[in-house]
């Protein structure tokens, strides 16, 4: 599954990143590296973006970017 499919409250581990270039590096720097946990927290009132809890911080990411983060099935 990919990160955009997480429902609020659901948690999973990162398997792989599909983004490339500087966004790939940014996601890694924020803590989205294989094995790390991510938890879906909030969905914006207009449906996009979604805020995820990553390494203790709340980070908003748009759906198109969340689709590039592959997750291992839910914890």
């Amino acid at each position: 599954m990919t990160m955009d499919q997480l429902k609020p409250g659901q948690q999973a581990r990162v398997r792989r990143l599909r983004a490339d270039g500087s966004m790939r590096r940014r996601l890694q720097d924020l803590g989205l590296t294989p094995g790390n946990e991510v938890c879906c927290r909030l969905i914006s009132p207009l449906g996009d973006p979604t805020a995820y809890e990553i390494c203790g911080a709340l980070i908003a990411i748009r759906r198109d970017d969340a689709k590039t983060v592959e997750l291992d099935c839910q914890l």
Partner: protein, 731 residues
């Protein structure tokens, strides 16, 4: 795509980096020079992730008042401050927050360039205790360039509330650099910073024997670095940087390669041997299983993994209840059903408090100034001052200046502290989160909402703030549309006109509520036109699709009421008022001259207003109002005073309280349509001179500056003309 100022590095700077020690030394960063007061002064880079309290630490150390607030991206231009302890001088450079030295935005590139090429003597990296692992990722990257690093684990007070424990001694032992714990907002732990820094720089005390941790890259990368390093060292004046530079060349960070060429003249043309070897190493690596991408990932992961290992046993969390409170608040502020209503209600409350609270003090001030005016006029005439000069001083300059104060001061003294409280609390990033989808539809960046919030204060600041936007295209859109939100200088005009003309017979709290509702409507219109203009730009001169971005939503923090109110009074209210008064006085003189020099049948002012009158009428205003906007180009604060002064120069009126002002306007043919059109034109016209110059500074292009001038003006002309036509047709 235009080259943006902070992405370019002047050749001047390279020259400055090569100054011999002992001479008057100057370091620069993106046009900013760090000048030592004495050759022995230390230059310290203050770095860290966004929103971890760097500016708070900076203010505490230097006694300066760099703006702080609970949202990422406040510090966009780096500020510097000086402090002294035990005879040793330190120059602190407050850098914009960054997650990594792999820069994505202009402000991050600024921070990266100063750390990598600015030659600071040491770095102080501020970390958020609640998010230590991610912060250590940056610490490790900075330590690779600057071994003299001091780590401040800040926000220990917040961590304690979350029952989060941090073993600072263990962290210090593992990192091999001094680690300090602090709660900077409370001023706790800061007293240790300068002594520790001094010992670190002079290599004294127990930390002197420590060996800073060096990140170990995967074996393949270490082998490649070992081959590159001796060759790279030949091209560098500082061989100590060789390992770091080789690692970044292997990373393949294109923005870094560009900076490297500009700073060290290191490019395939100037160092063919190095880049040929790099190319062959890359080719070898690409043939390995996983290829180039896997290799790059392993380089980035080296830092992330090391940071995770460092944290093991250093941080321990046992309570998630404090987080639950934040999540509940977030639900109210961002859920589908309550997100937008709460946003509008907060805005409404803000304006209602401003309008209703400002009424009484405004009246008192105006009465007080009226009383003083009589005494002043009497005093001057007793001193034998001629009547025309008294007329100029009292009815021209004094009246207008006191009008500015009594009408502008009370609302500003209420609005800005309240807005700063919201800012300090951490609400602004939630606005960006709520609105992002609309910006995405306009093919722009959600962070534009943050730059709009900065525009509420000052459009010039908002334009500079656009550096937080990663993509140059989206950054330009945000710069060009920033003027669609009214700034400090325009709020009082809007409030005054709404109160005088549009509330009608409603008085008391109903009146202020209606006024607040109308003001919210004006702001919402501004936001909608921002989106429309952004979409127009995306479809025409700035074609493109929305790019990727991430936005951090910080934890809610209890605002520091006393400090916030004090600072916003001084930083914003008095500054804006001062500017208005200072600019209003010479403008008053200019108007007086224009109104008193006769040319043919009338005064210069009469000629000007008469010339502009047909156009003004077509836009639902008149020649005087249009002259006010034109002559108010230096500062929006003086548009209303100029209009008042022009009317006064033609008719005569001695006292200017609120109702007298309305009377003056009505005598000059104002109706509610005039007021509506003036409000709309105030929202939608050219940026002030300062904002225009800032646009030029940020874009380095007169073409974009002209567009930033023309775009809101075109909207204003169109909207005012339509409203005037509709009104003429309907009424």
């Amino acid at each position: 795509m235009p080259k943006l100022s902070s992405l370019t590095v002047s050749s001047e700077r390279t020259a400055n980096l090569k100054v011999k020690p002992g001479q008057s030394q100057a370091l620069s960063d993106g046009g900013l020079f760090v000048r030592r007061r004495q050759p022995s002064d230390y230059v310290i880079a203050l770095a860290g992730n966004p929103n971890v309290g760097k500016s708070t630490v900076f203010n505490h150390l230097t006694g300066l008042h760099q703006h702080t607030g609970n949202w990422p991206g406040k510090t966009v231009a780096n500020a510097q401050g000086y402090c002294q302890a035990d005879g040793q001088g330190y120059i602190f450079v407050d850098l914009p927050g960054s997650y990594s030295l792999a820069a994505r935005s202009a402000e991050e590139a600024l921070a990266r360039d100063f750390i990598c090429f600015g030659h600071p003597d040491a770095a102080v990296v501020v970390c958020d205790a609640g998010c230590l692992q991610r912060n250590l990722n940056l610490v490790l990257q900075i330590m690779e360039v600057i071994p003299h690093t001091l780590v401040c684990v800040n926000l220990l007070d917040e961590a304690a509330k979350k029952k989060l424990k941090v073993d600072l001694a263990l962290l210090q032992q593992r990192l091999g650099v001094p680690v300090l714990g602090m709660a900077a907002r409370q001023g706790q732990g800061l007293e240790q910073l300068l002594p520790q820094l001094n010992r670190l720089l002079k290599q004294q005390g127990p930390t002197a024997a420590m060996v800073p941790l060096r990140v170990a890259y995967p074996a393949a990368a270490e082998a490649a670095i070992a081959k590159l390093q001796p060759i790279a060292a030949r091209y560098l004046t500082e061989p100590g940087m060789a390992r770091f530079i080789c690692a970044r060349l292997l990373d393949g960070d294109s923005s870094f390669s560009q900076a490297l060429e500009e700073q060290f003249n290191l490019s395939p043309a100037s160092a063919p041997e190095l880049f040929d070897l790099l190319a062959s190493l890359k080719a070898d690596i690409s043939r390995e299983p996983g290829g180039w991408e896997a290799f790059q990932d392993s380089m980035a992961a080296a830092f992330v993994r090391q940071a995770a290992r460092l944290c093991q046993g250093v941080t321990q969390q046992s309570d998630h209840r404090a987080l639950a409170r934040d999540r509940r608040l977030d639900w109210w502020f961002t859920s589908k059903w309550t997100g937008f209503p709460i946003m509008l209600l907060l805005l409404l409350l803000l304006f209602w408090l401003t309008i209703s609270g400002a009424n009484v003090p405004s009246q008192l001030l105006s009465q007080g100034f009226g009383w003083l005016e009589l005494r002043l006029a009497a005093g001057l005439s007793r001193l034998g001052v001629s009547a025309w000069l008294i007329d100029l001083l009292i009815h021209g300059v004094y009246n207008v200046m006191t009008w500015v104060i009594s009408v502008m001061l009370p609302p500003m003294a209420i609005f800005f502290p309240l807005f700063t409280l919201l800012e300090d609390y951490g609400y602004l990033p939630r606005i960006a989160f709520n609105l992002d989808r609309s910006f995405q539809k306009a093919r722009a960046c959600g962070k534009q909402a943050l730059t709009m919030c900065m525009g509420f204060g000052c459009n010039a600041a908002g334009v500079t703030g656009c550096r937080i936007i990663d993509s140059p295209r989206e950054r330009l859109i945000a710069i060009l549309t920033n003027n669609f939100v009214p700034c400090n200088g325009r709020f009082p005009t809007l409030i005054a006109l709404i109160t005088l003309f549009l509330i009608g017979s409603a008085s008391g709290w109903q009146g202020s509520l209606l006024g607040a509702l109308l003001l919210v409507a004006v702001i919402v219109l501004g936001v909608m036109l921002t989106l429309l203009a952004s979409r127009l730009l995306s479809g025409t001169v700035l074609k493109g699709v929305p790019s990727s971005f991430t936005l951090e939503l910080p934890p809610y923090r209890r605002p520091q009421f006393g400090r916030v109110i004090g600072r916003s009074m001084i930083d914003r209210t008095l500054k804006v008022l001062g500017r208005a008064v200072v600019v209003a006085a010479p403008a008053g003189l200019l108007i007086w001259i224009l109104a008193n020099i006769r040319l043919g049948t009338g005064t210069l002012l009469q000629h000007m207003t008469a010339f502009l009158d047909p156009m003004g009428r077509a836009l639902g205003m008149d020649g005087t109002i249009l002259s006010g906007f034109i002559l108010g180009f230096p500062a929006n604060e003086i548009v209303m005073p100029i209009i008042v002064m022009t009317y006064l120069a033609q008719g005569h009126l001695t006292e200017l309280s609120g109702s007298a002002l309305a009377q003056l306007f009505v005598q000059n043919g104002w109706t509610w349509v005039t007021a509506v059109c003036t409000i709309l034109f105030s929202l939608l016209h050219w940026p002030c001179a300062t904002a225009c110059l800032t646009v030029h500074k940020e874009t380095q292009s007169w073409k974009w500056t002209l567009l930033s001038f023309a775009l809101p003006t075109a909207f204003g002309l169109l909207v005012c003309f339509t409203v005037a036509r509709l009104a003429a047709w309907l009424l």
